[in-house]
C-alpha cells in the first residue's frame, strides 16, 4: 500500500476549476439584477488583488523582521553592544567616531565577550590576547550550540513540518496534492522564529528556501479571509504560486527573478493571470521590505554590486571554466547530499535528530572560527567576494602592493591591475581552505531538522572559486602582459580583470548546477547587479553548468529530494523507458476483485452503504446495469455518504430498503415500497475516459495536462476499469530502471 495515502490527498483540478467557473457565472448573472449584487461582483473581482496586496505586506514585514533579528543574533555570538543590547555590531558603531580606516568595525561601544568577561582583548596580543582568543572561541561555540538547540527543540515540540527547506514539499502541493498542516499558522510562527536561530548559529545554510515557505504560509492563512479562495483548492494554488514569487523576491530583492523562479521551479500550472498578480505581490513585498529598511541604507540585499567594469571576449574562457566547475559541483553535491539523507532516513542516525544538529553545529563552529572567511556569515562572505577593490577598501582581500604613482587612478571604482601583496596571498590560502570546508559541510547540513536553505551556501562556494580564479587571471595578466592573449586589451596600467565579476559568475554557475535554474537565475543575478553588461558571461556560465550537471543526472536538488521522499509528484518531463498500454496499468488487475460499481437503479440504500463501507475507494463508477457495463457517470465517495446521511435525517420515508436511483425519470414505486432516493444530482455525468489500448504515454499526458485525479477505462464502449494518479506514479516508479532506490515496502 502506498505509504502516504494518509498524508497526501489529490485534488481534482477539473472539478475545482468548473466549480469556480459556475460560481463566477452566477455572480455575473446576478449582478445585473440589483446594485448590491453589482457591488458584490466588483468586490469579488477585486478580492484577488486585495489578497495579493496583503500577502505582499505580510511577507515583506516578516522578511524584514527576520533579517533584522538574524543580523542581531549572529553578532550576539561575538559580543554585546553596551549602549543598547538590541543593536548589532554595525549599528552599535554607527555614530561612533573611533572607527578607523583599517579597523572599520572597532569602537568602544561594542565589546567582545572576552572584553566583557575577562577584560582582555585580542588586539593586545601580549597582554592576555591568547586568553581573549580562547574565551571568544568558547563563547562563539556556546552561543552557536544554544541557538541550534533552541531551534531544533522548538521545531520538534511545536511544528515538525517547519524543518528543511520547504521547496520540494511546496512543489508537491502546487502540483495538486494536499499536505495537511504544512502551511498552517504554527508552522509559520515556528519557521520564522527558528529560521533566525538556525541562521545565527553559524551553520552553513541560507534563508531563501525557508522564506518561500514562510510566504506560502502567509498566503495560505490569508486565503481564509476570502471565500473565493478558501473553498477552492485550484484558486488557492494560484495564490500559492504568487507567494513563492514573493518569497524569492524578498530574499534577493529581485521581483522579476522571483516571478520567473516561481514559474520555472515551483509551479506546476501557471496561467498568465498569475504572472501579473505574482509580479504585483512581489513588488509590494519588495517595497515593504525597503521601507522597513533592514540594512540601514535603503538597499534590499546585502550583496548589491555597483561596479560596471567592462569584460573582454577572451574572458569567456575562464567563465566557461567556472560553468564547468559549477556543473561538476552541482552533480557531486546532489549525489552526496541524497546519499547522506538516505543514510539519515534508514539507519539509526535518524533517531537522534537533536544530537545530530548539535554535533554538526559544534563541528561547523570549531572548524569555522579560526578562518575569518568562514566565521563571517554566508551573505557577508558573498558580498565581500563580489566587491571590486578600490582605493577605499582596506580589507585583506584587497591587499595589493601599492603602486608608486598616485596619479588620478583613484577616481571612480576601477584601479589598475596590481601585483598581489602579502595580505592578498594570506587571503587566498584562507579562501582555498574555506572552499574545501564549505563544500563538505553543506552536504551534511542541508536536510537537517532545522529550517535550512541552499542558495547562500552554493553561491558562497561558487563565489570563492570564482574569486580565486579571478585573482589568478589578474596576476596572470599583470605578469604576462606581453603575451599574445593579453596584449591586445590588457596593457599595463589598465583595469582589465575584475575578480568581483568572476566571483559573481562563479556563484551563478554553482547555484545553477545545484538547482538547475536557468532564466530565473540569470535574471536574479542581473537584478542584483543592476547592469546589463554581465548578462552574456552569466548566461554562458549558467548554460555550461546546466549541460555539465545534466550529463551526470537529470534532476535538480529539489526533484531529487522529492524522489527520495517518495512524494506523489508527477514530473512534467518524465518519459517511459518501455511502452505499455493503459490496460496493463489500470485496476482491477487480473488477480484483483472485480470493479466495484453502482448501477443506475436497482440498488438499495443498504447495499450502497455496504459497498462503500467495504472498500476504501474514493469514488465509484455508475453503470446501466450489472450485465452491460455501459457507463453513466462517476460519483465520489464523500458526496455519496453525505447525501445518504442527509437523506436519512431530513427526507421522510428513506430507510435501508429504499431504492437508490441515479436516472432522471424513475418508475413509480409500488404502493408499499418506501420512497426512492434520487441522487442524480451528485453524479458527474461527464467523466473522462480512455480506451484500454491507449498508450500509457498519452494517458500520462492527459493526466498531466488536465490535472485529473482518476480516469475510467473503456473497451468497445463498455466500462473495463479505472486508472488513478497513484497507479500512474507506481507504474512510473516501477518502470524506470534508474530508480532502484524505491524501497519495496513503498510499493
Amino acid at each position: 500500500e502506498w505509504g502516504h495515502t494518509r498524508t497526501f490527498n489529490t485534488i481534482d483540478w477539473v472539478r475545482e476549476k468548473s466549480k469556480d467557473r459556475d460560481r463566477h457565472r452566477e455572480i455575473a448573472n446576478k449582478s445585473r439584477q440589483s446594485t448590491v449584487a453589482l457591488l458584490h461582483s466588483v468586490s469579488d473581482a477585486f478580492s484577488g488583488w486585495l489578497l495579493m496586496l496583503l500577502v505582499g505586506l505580510m511577507s515583506g514585514a516578516l522578511a524584514g523582521g527576520i533579517d533584522i533579528a538574524a543580523h542581531w543574533l549572529t553578532d550576539m555570538k561575538e559580543g554585546l553592544c553596551l549602549v543598547g543590547f538590541w543593536f548589532n555590531h554595525e549599528h552599535c558603531c554607527w555614530t561612533s567616531n573611533e572607527t578607523t580606516f583599517q579597523e572599520r568595525d572597532r569602537c568602544p561601544q561594542w565589546q567582545s565577550w572576552a572584553e566583557i568577561m575577562t577584560g582582555t582583548s585580542e588586539v593586545l596580543w601580549l597582554r592576555g590576547g591568547a586568553l581573549a582568543y580562547f574565551v571568544n572561541y568558547l563563547m562563539f561555540l556556546v552561543w552557536a550550540l544554544l541557538f541550534a538547540l533552541l531551534a531544533v527543540t522548538l521545531v520538534r515540540a511545536f511544528a515538525p513540518y517547519a524543518c528543511g527547506s520547504g521547496i520540494p514539499e511546496i512543489k508537491t502541493i502546487l502540483s495538486g496534492f494536499i499536505i495537511r498542516g504544512y502551511l498552517g499558522k504554527w508552522t509559520l510562527i515556528i519557521k520564522t522564529i527558528t529560521l533566525v536561530l538556525a541562521v545565527s548559529s553559524g551553520l552553513s545554510l541560507g534563508k531563501e528556501g525557508p522564506l518561500v515557505h514562510v510566504a506560502c504560509c502567509c498566503a495560505n492563512i490569508l486565503c481564509h479571509l476570502f471565500t473565493k479562495y478558501r473553498k477552492n483548492e485550484a484558486k488557492r494554488r494560484e495564490v500559492l504560486s504568487a507567494a513563492a514569487a514573493v518569497g524569492v523576491s524578498v530574499a534577493f530583492g529581485a521581483p522579476i527573478g522571483g516571478v520567473l523562479f516561481s514559474l520555472e521551479e515551483v509551479s506546476y500550472y501557471f496561467p498568465l493571470k498569475t504572472l501579473w498578480r505574482s509580479f504585483f505581490a512581489a513588488l509590494v513585498a519588495a517595497f515593504t521590505l525597503r521601507s522597513i529598511n533592514p540594512f540601514g541604507n535603503s538597499r534590499l540585499v546585502l550583496f548589491y554590486v555597483e561596479f560596471h567594469a567592462p569584460w573582454h571576449l577572451v574572458e569567456l574562457g575562464p567563465f566557461i571554466l567556472l560553468g564547468i566547475f559549477g556543473g561538476l559541483w552541482g552533480a557531486l553535491f546532489i549525489r552526496a547530499n541524497i546519499a547522506w539523507c538516505r543514510i539519515r532516513k534508514s539507519t539509526r542516525l535518524g533517531h537522534y535528530p537533536v544530537t545530530e544538529v548539535l554535533v554538526v553545529t559544534a563541528l561547523t563552529g570549531m572548524l569555522a572560527y579560526p578562518n575569518s572567511y568562514t566565521r563571517m556569515g554566508g551573505a557577508e562572505l558573498i558580498s565581500e567576494l563580489f566587491n571590486d577593490c578600490s582605493l577605499l577598501d582596506s580589507s585583506q582581500l584587497c591587499g595589493y602592493k601599492q603602486s608608486n604613482s598616485t596619479s588620478g587612478a583613484g577616481v571612480g571604482n576601477g584601479l589598475a591591475d596590481r601585483p598581489a601583496g602579502v595580505g592578498l596571498y594570506a587571503a587566498l590560502w584562507q579562501l582555498a581552505l574555506a572552499l574545501v570546508f564549505k563544500m563538505m559541510i553543506t552536504v551534511i547540513t542541508f536536510g537537517m531538522k532545522v529550517p535550512s536553505g541552499l542558495f547562500i551556501p552554493s553561491m558562497a562556494v561558487g563565489a570563492i572559486a570564482g574569486r580565486l580564479l579571478g585573482v589568478g587571471m589578474e596576476q596572470l595578466a599583470y605578469y604576462n602582459h606581453d603575451s599574445a592573449i593579453f596584449r591586445g586589451w590588457c596593457s599595463p596600467g589598465a583595469d582589465c580583470i575584475t575578480p568581483g565579476l568572476y566571483a559573481m559568475v562563479g556563484a551563478a554557475a554553482c547555484l545553477g548546477g545545484v538547482t538547475r535554474m536557468t532564466v530565473s537565475l540569470v535574471v536574479i543575478m542581473f537584478e542584483l547587479t543592476g547592469g546589463l553588461e554581465y548578462i552574456v558571461p552569466l548566461m554562458a556560465a549558467t548554460m555550461t553548468s546546466k549541460w555539465v550537471a545534466d550529463a551526470f543526472g537529470r534532476e535538480g536538488i529539489y526533484e531529487a529530494h522529492i524522489r527520495l521522499n517518495g512524494y506523489p509528484f508527477l514530473e512534467p518531463k518524465e518519459e517511459f523507458q518501455h511502452s505499455s498500454l493503459t490496460a496493463d496499468v489500470m485496476r482491477p488487475r487480473r488477480s484483483d476483485p472485480p470493479l466495484a460499481v453502482l448501477t443506475q437503479e436497482g440498488m438499495t440504500v443498504e447495499e450502497v452503504e455496504a459497498l462503500v463501507e467495504s472498500t476504501h475507494y474514493s469514488g465509484f463508477p455508475v453503470v446501466v446495469s450489472q450485465d452491460s457495463h455501459r457507463l453513466v457517470g462517476f460519483v465520489l465517495r464523500r458526496d455519496l455518504l453525505i447525501s445518504i446521511d442527509n437523506a436519512r435525517k431530513r427526507q421522510e420515508g428513506v430507510v435501508g430498503a429504499s431504492q437508490v436511483v441515479f436516472t432522471e425519470h424513475s418508475p413509480a414505486p409500488a404502493d408499499d415500497a418506501p420512497p426512492p432516493l434520487r441522487l442524480r444530482g451528485i453524479v458527474d455525468l461527464s467523466p473522462f475516459t480512455v480506451t484500454d489500448h491507449t498508450p500509457m504515454d498519452i494517458t500520462v499526458d492527459i493526466f498531466r495536462k488536465l490535472g485529473l485525479r482518476q480516469c475510467l477505462v473503456t473497451h468497445n464502449g463498455k466500462l473495463l476499469g479505472i486508472i488513478t494518479k497513484k497507479d500512474i506514479l507506481k507504474h512510473m516508479a516501477n518502470d524506470c530502471q534508474q530508480r532502484p532506490r524505491l524501497h519495496p515496502l513503498q510499493l
Binding site: I68, A157, P160, N293, L392
Partner: protein, 185 residues
C-alpha cells in the same frame, strides 16, 4: 478565526506604515565619508549627523588634514554617502522577537513538564495510561484528558478541545517526520 486573521493582517500593515510616519531620531541619520590614503596622510573615516544637502566632503571632513590647494584633490578621492536607519524599528523588532521566543519556550516547558504534573495531581495516577513510546514526549496525555472535560463550562471546554486536537496533529506530524521519515527526509 476570521477576525483574528484580519486583525493580524491589519496590525502588520499598520506597523509598516507607522515606521514611515514616526518622527526620526536625529541620531538616525548620518553622512559617512571614506577618504583613502593621500601622500603621507593615512586613510580616515568621517561621520557627522548632517542632512542630505550638506553631505559632501567640505562639510563633513573636519578638521581638513590638507591645506588650501590640496583640498580639492583630496576631496575628489573621498566618497561620501548619506545613510539613515530607524533605531526604533530595530528596537521594537528585537524586543518582539525575544518576547515571542520567550513565550514559546515557556509554553514548551509548561507542556512538557508542568502540565503532566498538574494533571496527575488533579486526576490521580490510576487514570493516566501512557503508552511506552509516549513517555517523555510533549503532549503525551492528549487522548486522556478529553474524557475528563465534561464537567467544565463551555468556553474552557472548547479551548481544551481545540488544544487537544492541535496536540494530536503535532504528534502525527512528529511521527511522520521524525519517526517514520516519510516527509522531509
Amino acid at each position: 478565526m476570521k477576525s483574528v486573521f484580519l486583525l493580524e493582517a491589519f496590525s502588520v500593515a499598520c506597523f509598516v506604515l507607522l515606521n514611515q510616519v514616526t518622527a526620526k531620531n536625529s541620531e538616525d541619520i548620518r553622512c559617512k565619508c571614506i577618504c583613502p590614503p593621500y601622500r603621507d596622510i593615512e586613510g580616515q573615516i568621517y561621520k557627522q549627523n548632517v542632512s542630505l544637502k550638506d553631505c559632501n566632503c567640505l562639510h563633513v571632513v573636519e578638521p581638513m588634514p590638507v591645506d588650501g590647494k590640496d583640498v580639492e584633490a583630496y576631496c575628489l578621492r573621498c566618497e561620501c554617502k548619506f545613510e539613515e536607519r530607524s533605531s526604533a524599528t530595530i528596537k521594537v523588532t528585537i524586543i518582539m522577537y525575544l518576547s515571542i521566543l520567550g513565550l514559546l519556550l515557556l509554553y514548551m516547558v509548561y507542556l512538557t513538564l508542568l502540565e503532566p504534573m498538574l494533571k496527575r495531581r488533579l486526576f490521580g495516577h490510576s487514570q493516566l495510561i501512557q503508552s511506552d513510546d509516549d513517555v517523555g514526549q510533549p503532549f503525551a496525555n492528549a487522548h486522556n484528558v478529553l474524557s475528563h472535560s465534561h464537567s467544565r463550562p463551555n468556553m474552557l471546554n472548547k479551548v481544551e478541545h481545540a488544544q487537544q486536537r492541535w496536540r494530536r496533529q503535532v504528534q502525527e506530524q512528529r511521527k511522520s517526520v521524525f519517526d517514520r521519515h516519510v516527509v522531509l527526509s
